[in-house]
Point group: C2
Chain length 326, copies 2
């Protein structure tokens, strides 16, 4: 169920049973509907995702004393919202692999892929409604709008954009908004007051920002076989992420980088040299330091939370998010 | 705002102000998001839709004494859910025109079209949450799942399927489920008891079934310029609707119909002759009688509702739905 590369990391320990319940809940979502939907959902769910978002939700909820039934429902809703956006994302990017496994759009028609994503949105919404919190439902809807608006902005306006502000907005929309939703909503379902909810919101935001920065670093440093896509895949598409932004600050006139930023797909770029130059420049280390700073801020938000095994695992998960190689 | 072809039908009279508020609410949904999203939404909303679903919602709600703010929110949510499914539907069908106006996918990339549909889903969900009813939120999510499951079933399993059961399931998923949602949810927001909610559910179901049967009839009888797509467009794609089902009962061995049902796109079909034969057979009249029977059932459900101008307009709308030519 959980990918083996994480078997050495023990932060799932306090929530193993709940993680199994989430997995069952996720896999039961196509019940009584078209069998191909069930097959598609199985394929998506078996693609070795780390289930980081459900883990954050369950650890935060058990740390704060939330009811476990609501927790499983919420964690499943969060993971399905994430899954649905990935399905449409892969279709839009024309991606054929995710984590080394074929994407739905590579196996199925675009039409079936669009509809499967829609179906998973519907199931995420149903699960969110099952938490019986209207406020939480609104937050789900707002987060979906944020994620989609971020993707549309990226589609139209982000190629060749090396502004730091644009980057921060992009990674918030793409990743941090959903971590923020997970941490905030689980606090709202717990017997805690507004100040704790706010601290958890900050924790989710910080963790999400760090998580995406590390994803962007791994795009430069990861092994292709592990990451499951070509090195510097973002930069190849003209998308400038944090390591490239820092590199630009240090080397403002690299002709290969200029060619990438020009947005001209015909411009000749020696991508291997550019990636090597970025890796050798110290830009990756600066980006990693920034992710690490976000995690420190996030851990500080947890400082006044109940001291129990779930909190310690949540801290482990946060630290792992900057140490991971996958 | 409301298409001129309906100017002669007066069922909007009791809800004119509310319809304007719905229109404003719909058009404000892209606020503060990417400008191209606003442009896309404007294009979609200006394509001359009849806004039948908001009209049903508003008339039913004013008939039953619902709070008008909630009504405008609910009617907008229903129309946005409908709009989002149309956006993805047109993309899947590769449709270039809807009501004679270019579809979003014909103007934009498939990627932007997928995302615009997703954004509109998110807005529909937010508006549904603003009604502050968790039950209603769940019903929205279930209805979206029903609609999408119907589309997936149609994609994989409905070509050449002439079974009556399959047809009933398809038109429920495609159209009646959303009319049912509109009528049921508006009753739930009104100061009425469970028996009235159940009567309204039946009314919505009957109206929706009739509405889709008439759409399917117009596909055989409508003027191409009015309907905005080629005659018998469903049958050309192998989709068997009620007039064709009745024709098959009467003429079980028409070689052109056999060719359509074979699902072989290379089979030679004289579609003009087949459509003429169906129109001459009496099958269209039988289908229209069935739509009319649904409306009679629906009107019977309204029999014990408060007798006021909204109820009379709702009855007019129901009768119009079988008399319309568009």
């Amino acid at each position: 169920m959980v990918s083996t590369s994480l078997a050495t990391v023990n932060f799932y320990a306090p929530i193993q049973d709940l993680m199994l319940q989430v997995e069952q809940r996720l896999r039961s979502q196509a019940d009584s509907h078209h069998p191909d939907l069930g097959a598609a959902l199985d394929h998506l769910l078996s693609s070795g995702g780390k289930r980081i978002r459900p883990a954050v939700t369950l650890l935060a909820g058990t740390m704060l004393g939330a009811d476990t039934d609501s927790l499983v429902t919420l964690a499943s809703a969060i993971e399905l919202l994430h899954t649905a956006t990935l399905v449409h994302d892969d279709l839009i990017d024309g991606a054929v692999l995710r984590r080394g496994i074929t994407t739905l759009n590579a196996r199925w028609s675009p039409a079936a892929t669009v509809l499967t994503g829609d179906f998973i949105f519907a199931r995420a919404a149903r699960l969110a409604a099952e938490t019986n919190s209207v406020t939480l439902m609104r937050m789900f809807a707002e987060t979906l709008a944020t994620i989609v608006n971020g993707e549309i902005t990226q589609l139209f306006a982000s190629r060749g954009n090396a502004s730091r502000e644009n980057y921060d907005q992009r990674i918030y929309a793409k990743t941090a908004s959903l971590f923020e939703l997970a941490a905030t909503s689980v606090a709202m379902l717990s017997p805690v007051g507004e100040p704790v909810v706010e601290k958890m919101r900050c924790f989710g935001y910080d963790l999400g920002m760090a998580f995406q920065i590390v994803d962007d670093i791994l795009d430069f440093t990861g092994e292709q076989a592990t990451v499951g896509k070509p090195l510097a895949s973002d930069l190849r598409q003209g998308l400038v992420t944090l390591p490239a932004i820092y590199y630009l600050e240090m080397r403002p006139s690299d002709p290969d980088m200029d060619a990438v930023l020009s947005g001209d797909p015909g411009a000749p770029v020696d991508m291997e040299r550019l990636v090597s130059a970025i890796r050798a420049s110290g830009a990756v280390e600066r980006a990693l330091q920034e992710a690490s700073d976000y995690i420190d801020q996030g851990l500080a938000c947890l400082a006044e939370m109940p001291d129990n095994p779930s909190r310690r695992s949540l801290e482990d998960l946060a630290r792992y998010s900057v140490e991971r190689r996958l």
